[in-house]
């Protein structure tokens, strides 16, 4: 399952933080910090997985993708496919892109509500519900009609 979805910028500022497990706000902040420090030191060509046992418990991994000023990070356990999640991040970003037309960091900050809605259409309760970008856009537009 997916334990958390985080979007943060390259300065470590969270732009979206969604946890699918109950965690105290303090713990959430700590996780954001640790994830950031884990990612910020990694070179571009390194693999997109980081083992996160220490941050999130045994057998969890961070799967992340770096776009311009943003890191998109999914925290997963062994029930998810690492490579599959990479493509899911791609789906997420493509969807944001078609909703915001050339999405940028500020879009995500100001349209917090909408970004969350997009994510809710993709991931629900820690499980992937939809992977087709067009479908997602359709449901989101339905909601914001």
């Amino acid at each position: 399952m997916i334990d958390a979805v985080l979007v943060m910028n390259t300065q470590g500022k969270p732009r979206l933080a969604k946890f699918y497990k109950s965690l105290s706000p303090v713990k959430q902040q700590e996780i954001v910090r640790k994830v950031y420090s884990g990612l910020s030191s990694r070179a571009e060509h390194f693999c997109n997985f980081v083992e996160a046992d220490e941050i999130f418990g045994a057998r969890t991994k961070l799967v992340y993708k770096h776009f311009a000023t943003l890191y998109f990070v999914f925290v997963i356990d062994s029930g998810e496919s690492e490579l599959g999640i990479l493509d899911l991040i791609q789906v997420f970003v493509e969807t944001l892109d078609s909703i915001f037309k050339n999405v940028c960091e500020l879009d995500i900050v100001f349209n917090f509500n909408k970004v969350n809605t997009v994510l809710d259409e993709i991931v629900m309760g820690g499980q992937v519900v939809e992977t087709n970008s067009t479908e997602i856009v359709k449901s989101v537009q339905e909601i914001f009609k």
């Binding site: 220490e54 311009a68 999405v103 349209n111 509500n113 309760g125 820690g126 499980q127 519900v129």
Partner: protein, 910 residues
């Protein structure tokens, strides 16, 4: 995402205000973004919170405005600040009729509240209502909220509605209902266990997206228990086949790959179902082969499917042909330039070698590449693989790599994990002791206090035991090389405490063994060790014991030891230590130094840490002594419980006799006194029971005297006397009297020979007197009954000696602490004299201390004393406990000598 590359200019564009939010929010984000320091950001956010607090409470805030406030609260909270004052407004917003506002309310609530939050109860009603809404979007919003907000207790409140939604006409709602139920399953499986059939029915939903939602749930359910789902193999295989053959709607394609996410989930499920199930696995071979053939290895998602397929193949019943294909794919992954694929390749290889270990050889180079890659994730994964591949023939290389790795990381979590693996591998495959010791030293040096204490003890044991064979030369070579290595290591700054403990022990035990280092030199080194860690009491304990041993060895060898000034000041300091353990050790140290050469040699023989100490728990060698004591009118032994009871009594009743009689009444549950035991002497093993049985009798027959009273008082003072320590008590006195003084390191044999041969008789009197003081009674009652017994215990000769003297010896004798012993023989006595009493309090003291985990060493000294006590009695069965602890306990190496510290025992003697 080329477009995203432009995001960099994010804040520069911020002022355009095209996002439909208010200027203020925009300003806020902008100023926070431009904040130069954390403190400045903090200030801005706090100001924002203040203003929100004020405004949100104004009456009649327009709903649109309120929505914005709430979003700002969400933002503030995401930055790590408390926005709890606004939670209630978010809750209210979920009641709104407007879908967008309602959704915003739900969103804020799901972000703010945990499932156990008090406010949840205010939302349940709304959720229930929304689940029944005609607007499917409202339903969806409620279902999303349900996933986050419903806990075990509230599940029943919404479950019926959600089950109903499984048949909703909109596939989106059905899908989300499945997800919500899945969530319930994770929270509390029993609440939805009756819904398994409904789940399976949804597997055949006319819309594939609902089916794929069910797969998520199935995976988790199968993970918990495979059995009830075995029959699904055929249907799942056929679904997978349809997906692979492109028969699902086009909308499920992703980059021209047919329904990849469905395929991956199905492969994961099949891996679970096929594990160890040949029939099920055979059903799958076809479709798996198909996937391997069709999947596109040029796209990321294609490789995701291929990897999953390899994973499934290595989980289910093996098919050699397909495994061959899997190996080829793995090879392709490993050869790829893409780090992600390399990572997956290493993982896949780790799975493959479990089935076909030889396949690793083909990829040696690729694996080495990954190991040397700067990418930490890849490196760590490769170390994982190596760990799985370790055999006796490659352990040295692999361990070297691991050690090198932990040397270069600072992350304690992985340091701990990997060093524990190194230790495990080293223990399992070590080619030689030499190598093992070196490796352990490295681990200690690097990972230091992250290493469990046990490992240090194992290492000391190994050094002490050597190869465990006859080859003494090799062993002593091993030891001197260990000493050499440690002296070298000591030059490094900042060594971890645990390593210093090992070093102290080894230096103490073997520092001067090969003659290449002088005692002064080693003692100097030991003092240096202490100086590096002034506050470490445990380490000091190790060092004191080591110094004691070295001095003892020197004296035993006929040399005089001149303590260097550092050492003297170190020791002086310890007399005033707050740690009773350290004080104890230092008094022991002094007592040992005062002994004569032979005694020392038997107390602390060279290189005796591995000798087995045989402990005669039953103290059979005392039988004769006891018999004679009883014959001379001593009171029989009373068990602890008995004495404790009496203590209570005596405090109540001033009359001792009254105390005893009431004592009987107070212990109605005890076995009725069996008269025969008096006759029954018996094998040693009966002692304890006998003691219990008999003491009743004896307590009746014998009147309490002053001694006993005092004894009880003492007992109380020192803490709960448990049966076991007490049992040892009688050993000690005798122990001492018989064997003079036995140190922990004294070989059992030696001690035994002494006992049986009944050494210097002159000594005997005095010890016996002391004994009689407090413990005679115990001993007597223990053994007294047996006096008449058929089985004369081994120490028949002793019996005579002991009896005559002991019986009369009353409490009068003991208190005299005779620290200044003129004649050699007497000297022993005098030392042993105070010793006797000392045992008791020390035991108890140790009991007290040992509660504290940090006082492990003190426990050791307790153990040691016990061992000491037991050592005398070689003939009896040796209790395993003492054997196990032998090497460890030996560190302390000295019997407690109370001689110098009479106050400690004043209470005992009254």
């Amino acid at each position: 995402m080329e477009q995203l590359k432009t995001i960099g200019r994010e804040l520069a564009m911020g002022s355009q205000g095209v996002w439909g939010s208010s200027k203020e929010f925009l300003e806020l984000v902008k100023t926070i973004g431009e904040a130069k320091s954390k403190a400045e950001e903090e200030r801005i956010v706090l100001a924002e919170i203040e203003s929100l607090k004020r405004r949100i409470q104004e009456p009649d805030v327009p709903r649109k405005k309120m929505k914005e406030y709430i979003m700002r609260l969400v933002y503030v909270e995401m930055l790590g600040h408390d926005a709890s004052f606004g939670y209630i407004h978010a809750v209210k917003m979920t009641h709104d009729d407007n879908l967008l506002l309602k959704r915003s309310g739900y969103l804020a609530v799901t972000l703010f509240l945990n499932e156990d939050h008090d406010l949840i109860i205010l939302i349940i009603n709304t959720i229930q209502k929304d689940l029944k809404s005609d607007n499917y979007l409202v339903c969806c919003a409620a279902l999303t909220a349900v996933c986050r907000l419903i806990n075990e207790e509230t599940i029943p409140a919404v479950l019926p509605q959600i089950v109903e939604l499984l048949n909703h006409q909109k596939e989106l709602v059905r899908k989300k209902a499945v997800m919500a139920l899945h969530r319930f399953f994770q929270r509390s499986p029993s609440t939805v266990s009756h819904l398994f059939p409904a789940f399976q029915e949804r597997l055949c939903d006319r819309d594939p997206s609902v089916m794929s939602a069910v797969l998520c749930a199935l995976y988790d359910m199968i993970l918990v228990n495979v059995k009830p789902f075995k029959h699904l193999v055929a249907s799942l295989v056929s679904i997978l086949k349809q997906a692979v053959e492109h028969r699902l709607p086009k909308s499920y394609d992703y980059h021209r790959t047919p329904a990849p996410f469905v395929q991956i989930k199905l492969l994961k499920i099949l891996a679970l179902l096929g594990t160890g199930d040949k029939a099920a696995s055979e059903n799958m071979f076809n479709v798996l082969g198909d996937i391997l053939k069709r999947s596109d290895s040029t796209s990321n998602i294609g490789n995701a499917i291929l990897y999953e397929c390899v994973r499934t193949l290595t989980s289910i019943y093996t098919n050699p042909r397909l495994l061959q294909n899997a190996a080829e794919i793995t090879a392709k992954f490993l050869k790829s330039d893409n780090h992600n694929l390399k990572y997956m390749g290493i993982d896949a290889l780790g799975r493959l070698i479990k089935i076909t270990p030889e396949c690793a050889e083909n990829h040696q180079l690729a694996v080495i590449d990954c190991l040397e890659d700067p990418d930490d994730t890849l490196k760590r994964k490769t170390l994982d693989l190596l760990y799985k591949m370790t055999k006796a023939n490659n352990v040295e290389v692999i361990v070297e790599r691991m050690v090198e790795y932990i040397r270069n990381i600072s992350d304690n979590h992985y340091k701990t994990e990997i060093s524990s693996r190194v230790i495990e591998l080293a223990e399992r495959y070590a080619p030689s002791n030499q190598w093992f010791i070196q490796t352990m030293n490295q681990v200690f040096e690097i990972a230091g206090d992250l290493v469990p204490q046990k490992v240090a003890h194992d290492l000391m044991r190994l050094i002490a035991e050597g190869a465990g064979e006859e080859d003494e030369d090799a062993d002593s070579h091993l030891r001197s090389s260990a000493v050499q290595a440690y002296l070298q290591i000591l030059k490094e700054p900042k060594l971890p405490s645990i390593l210093l403990q090992v070093i102290s022990w080894v230096l103490g035990e073997y520092g001067i063994a090969d003659g290449s280092h002088s005692a002064e030199f080693i003692i100097g080194k030991l003092c240096d060790i202490v100086a590096t860690r002034p506050g470490d009491d445990k380490l000091k304990g190790y060092v004191v014991s080591a110094i004691t041993k070295i001095c003892a060895f020197e004296k035993a060898a006929g040399q005089t030891v001149d303590l260097i000034p550092e050492c003297v000041s170190f020791i002086e300091e310890l007399y005033a230590s707050h740690s009773t353990d350290l004080q104890q050790r230092i008094y022991e140290f002094h007592a040992v130094l005062k002994l004569d050469r032979d005694t020392i040699a038997s107390i602390l023989p060279m290189d005796a840490s591995c000798e087995d100490i045989e402990v005669d728990k039953d103290l059979s060698f005392l039988n004769s002594f006891v018999e004679s004591a009883l014959a001379n009118g001593s009171r029989p032994y009373l068990s602890d419980n008995e004495r404790r009871g009496m203590g209570a009594m005596t405090t109540l009743a001033s009359n001792n006799d009254a105390g005893t009689s009431s004592l009987l009444r107070f212990q109605p549950y005890e076995k009725p006194s069996i008269p025969e035991p008096a006759a029954a002497l018996v094998t040693a093993s009966h002692y304890s029971q006998d003691a219990i049985d008999q003491h009743d009798i004896y307590s009746k027959s014998s009147s309490n005297d002053g001694t006993r009273l005092k004894l009880e008082g003492v007992q109380k003072k020192w803490g709960r006397p448990t049966y076991t320590p007490e049992a040892q008590v009688p050993k000690n006195p005798i122990n001492i009297s018989d064997s003079v003084k036995v140190s922990s390191s004294a070989a059992g044999k030696e001690a035994s020979s002494r006992n049986s041969s009944a050494p210097p008789y002159t000594e005997r009197k005095q010890p016996s007197q002391e004994i009689s003081a407090e413990k005679k009674k115990l001993a007597a009652s223990l053994f007294g009954s047996k006096a008449g017994e058929t089985k004369a215990k081994p120490a028949a000769k002793l019996q005579q000696n002991g009896t005559s003297k002991k019986a009369p010896a009353k409490p009068t004798s003991p208190p005299a602490p005779a620290p200044a012993p003129p004649p050699a023989d007497l000297l022993d006595l005098s030392d042993s004299l105070p010793q006797i009493p000392s045992v008791d309090p020390v035991d108890q003291l140790a009991d007290l201390i040992s509660v504290d985990s940090s006082a492990a060493t003190s426990t050791t000294s307790l153990v040691e004393q016990v061992l000491d006590a037991g050592k005398v009695a070689t003939k009896g069965p040796s209790p395993q406990a003492s054997l196990q602890k032998d090497s460890v306990s030996r560190q302390v190496g000295v019997t407690p000598s109370g001689g110098t510290n009479p106050d400690l025992f004043k209470d005992l003697f009254g």
